[in-house]
Subunit: 298 residues, 2 copies
């Protein structure tokens, strides 16, 4: 029996629905969304913390703590009546810097907050602490999922960096088919296009710059270490996406050996290179009038 157009349309819609459903059931999306949510939470927490420091700063302007969470805990525990603070408890919270803060409390020019005002402050502070806990739990979920999805890549780099690479690439199979050079520059799109359009210096790394091995490397080694990681991540991603073999041990020892070799070499002298002429910025270009704009150099 021949299918009527109506039946055919219905069947095709069902097929499309099924393919959408299956595309979303690989678990890649939850990794991507978890890392985005974690980053977003970080931002929201910073916004809120800024306001907390602004506000509690009226009552204790001398307080400076490098860790925002310790600051929030201080407000939550001692904010009501800082003059009556217990030195032992302060020590539990602040460790070595407790004595310094204790002296500051004695000399503070701030007044004490009113009970209703303190209630607000405590709420904001507790909330910030809660937010940090939530971020932690999302991170641990992310770690579990990212490690299950990409055992090879997460063995080479931190799970968060792996998840961010995945998020930029869009999906694991897309990432596996990317050339190493693209992986190296994921997250550096802006600098890359500035390079292509205006001839500024090309970027050497994008998200990969968060790797401690690159951050801590000497400046002249950073580019090649990023390149090295990119090539190995490229291989690892293929294994994660297609063969599902665990080959990361070998890759990791390769990387370590090569970095050791790089570090042993002295800094190379730069060869003098012909200067590439920088394309003028838009505002400067307009000086020559509109007629010029057709003549693109690329």
């Amino acid at each position: 029996m021949k299918e009527s157009p109506e039946e055919k349309r219905h069947r095709l819609i069902e097929l499309a629905k099924a393919s959408v459903t299956s595309a979303y059931s690989t678990g890649e999306h939850s990794v991507i969304l978890a890392v985005n949510t974690s980053n977003e939470l970080e931002k929201a927490r910073n916004l809120l913390h800024e306001k907390l420091e602004d506000w509690y700063g009226i009552f204790f302007p001398e307080l400076r703590l490098s860790n925002p969470l310790t600051y929030a805990r201080f407000v939550s525990e001692f904010g009501m009546d800082k003059k009556a603070v217990d030195k032992a408890k302060l020590h539990d919270l602040l460790g070595n810097s407790a004595d310094e803060v204790y002296t500051k409390i004695g000399n503070s020019i701030g007044v004490e907050p009113s009970p209703t005002e303190y209630e607000m402050l405590k709420r904001i502070a507790d909330y910030e602490i809660e937010m940090a806990k939530m971020q932690e739990s999302i991170d641990s979920y992310l770690k579990e999922r990212a490690t299950a999805l990409m055992p090879n890549v997460t063995h080479l780099v931190d799970y968060k960096i792996a998840a961010e690479l995945l998020s930029k690439a869009g999906s694991l199979s897309k990432m596996a088919l990317m050339p190493a050079g693209t992986i190296q520059l994921l997250g550096a799109e802006k600098a890359l296009f500035k390079h292509i359009k205006f001839g500024s210096k090309p970027p050497k790394y994008g998200i990969l710059f968060k790797l401690p091995q690159i951050t801590n490397a000497s400046k002249w080694n950073r580019g090649r270490i990023a390149r090295l990681y990119a090539t190995k991540i490229c291989i690892a991603a293929k294994a994660d996406a297609f063969t599902k073999n665990f080959i990361a041990e070998k890759l990791k020892s390769d990387i370590e050996a090569t970095i050791a070799k790089y570090n042993a070499q002295p800094q190379r002298q730069k060869k003098p290179q012909p200067q590439r002429q920088q394309r003028p910025y838009r505002s400067q270009r307009q000086q020559y009038g509109r007629g010029q704009r057709g003549h693109r150099r690329f």
Copy 2:
């Protein structure tokens, strides 16, 4: 006995400290900080909600609810297993749109989240609900403080608008000494300077645009209603800052009478005005080279 320089220095530092302390104890700062925190929270909540919709959208892409909090409650209550949702409970949450959503659930192409993933989603949703509660409590604190600090101004306009005006002005006494024209344009600084520098249209209102009386007014009346409010707020702020009399009843009935008069008038025909020449933008100015830049029109 004459004061030694050391004693004098010490006495002056103490005086400065005392004046800082008293400046911060008027309660104006807590109003300013509360309104800023409330706005910041709003932003953070929007960031978070976006992520929640992104994430839960995988499992139920058809769900569209105009109120973000209702969305969060839906995720928190029914997100785990939307197919097994109880129709009566759904009706409690969604009211009239429950039937529509119920049909959408039946036809949804989304899969159900795994338990660990749902745990994350529920946490984010609960957190968002919590955040809204906190914002509410800050707002009610703000309302109480702003009304106590500025009984006259808050009688004329919403307490949030009054607090934002105060925040822009810096302090109540500064606000009381401002001309009405400045109050009218608080929050429209960008448009104002664009007008001064480049001769674009001058702004008619800043923060005051949030007043429903202005938003809902006909277009040709908005400017003068803003002007009217600004003049009355200016008087009310002086009363709040200096005399502490409650004169807002009179001011409010004045405003209402004048608005009624404006609304009764037909739209005036615009007189043709000489066109003010617009100063070219920076990028256009550069066409003529740097020599021209000394010739400012103002």
